[in-house]
Subunit: 350 residues, 2 copies
Amino acid sequence: MDPLKVVRENILRMAGYVPGEQPRGGKVIKLNTNENPYPPSPRVLEAIRSSLDESLRLYPQPTADDLREKAAEVYGLPPECIIAGNGSDELLTMLVRVFVGEGEKVVYPTPTYTLYETLAEIQGGGTVEVPFPSDFSLPAGLAESEGKVLFLANPNSPSGTLVPTDQVRRLAESFRGIVVVDEAYADFAGETSIPLVRDLENVVVLRTFSKSFSLAGIRLGLAFGNPGVIEQMMKVKDSYNVNRLTQVAGIAALEDLEWMKENVRKVVRTRERMTEKLKEMGFTVLPSRANFVFARREGEYLKNLYEGLKERGILVRFFDTPSLRDALRITVGTDEEVDLFLEELASLLK
Amino acid sequence: MDPLKVVRENILRMAGYVPGEQPRGGKVIKLNTNENPYPPSPRVLEAIRSSLDESLRLYPQPTADDLREKAAEVYGLPPECIIAGNGSDELLTMLVRVFVGEGEKVVYPTPTYTLYETLAEIQGGGTVEVPFPSDFSLPAGLAESEGKVLFLANPNSPSGTLVPTDQVRRLAESFRGIVVVDEAYADFAGETSIPLVRDLENVVVLRTFSKSFSLAGIRLGLAFGNPGVIEQMMKVKDSYNVNRLTQVAGIAALEDLEWMKENVRKVVRTRERMTEKLKEMGFTVLPSRANFVFARREGEYLKNLYEGLKERGILVRFFDTPSLRDALRITVGTDEEVDLFLEELASLLK
């Protein structure tokens, strides 16, 4: 029998999320997936090294309790308000599985992280897309949109822009569903909606260890929310979703916040310099609060620029859609990487 | 607003899968979650150690290509027939998300791994449960049951029994949907349905590194299936579902098959001895092809026995359901652990 005949219609139809390229080797300057250019804390490596023994034969803690207790200390919410995921992508998956049934809707401003649309498709749900105005402030009508879940990437990708916490609060007070604030880049912004979880039962805030903590390779994210919501998420997660070494790494990373903050300061300094240079070269650059910048040349098609950079060994992110094809999203690398990028870019624009 | 008001009905109603206890410390003989009592290959630990560097700041390969190529070599199917998961539980999750829409059905013989039911509930789907006969051979009528997916744990848990490959083949030839053969324990049985994937487009076989490879702590599973099915599973998986260290560990484990096989031989020897001893003590023990035994005292309620063992520091698995409460499922430990278990059991039965 043909197995495709029993695949769900919504799955068969969809294309699937396409992650940024991960080159398998060779010398490439990788400014395309917003990884941190600086290494993780040596304490993290040491903690994993100390856990490398025969205990790997045993399952991990199903609910990552030691990690949640450490996170509770750091973020000022009790452990029952916290759940750990195999990256924050898995936390997004849990949320749609809890809240979004077939035909039900997910709301988000656009352009944003395209995984939100993919996740709605996988559920057989629909989407309500509300375009950002050109300054990427909260769109009018967003709070009144009808849907079970509203996703707000904050800072947003690919724009890098931030919606201030008091506006997030007002949005959550008005929206008739769950507001998920996806704070993958919040450490670079220095502002967070985590405290809103205390007052607003419908707010869930997501954090990742992939960006500021330089740990994209270990897959770890945290969600903060009302204990009732966390309880529902626990029901749909895989039993042992976060492996032993990642749990240990997460605890060690949270015990060395200063390492992360120092890397953030370096990235922010480079980001500001990079923004100025790009402006001098004729790009429109939105004020970034993340670890990347979004540089636009109004109305120009930048695919050739993206490909020219790639030929010269520099990967940046290019989205070939009508609203984004006149822009590039460039991760903030080390100063050396950024200088090389700017140099190649200048020569390509000549 | 009350967030529980927007939770999907099926999620609100369900209880969630309850994994076996994972004690957080203390001296416990753990014979409850079918972990391997022997350590993983030293080559696995060494491979992880060599990968502990600043590359953790980078995302892993999204589709674990190096690992899939190694698995292709070992299992004799091309990489496009293989997908890696964050444990085989995640592969089960991918399968229900691809095939099971709301109101659609999942079929499985019972008693079996209770996660199949949980996964159907999460999808808002239904279940068709077909009871095994007392010898746990394939139930009549199973192949004719109506459902999108049929799950067959083979060897089955908690019974430990095996359905021979030729019978699995006939089942898959007749069933009008996908047949998922969950082979978590297959290395202990010495028989596999992986070759069926060549001939039957609707067969998916799952393997885990948690049991025979002694790597429950790293979370890794593999699915083998028709390229068309694997392609659909790729659409619903999280982008970076298997972390860097787990990918490296999986490759190293597959490069040292002899280590795994030697541990399997030891476990099988102990299993046979344990089976004999339990029979001498008056238990009915099904012929186990897994790394655990299922020991029954017809009609007796064994909760006290389970609790008595627990008080003495020995954890076994007890399922408090009408059809299973006269039995215990006991993981095969080291010879020393099994001797201690048998001793305490004998004294409790006196």
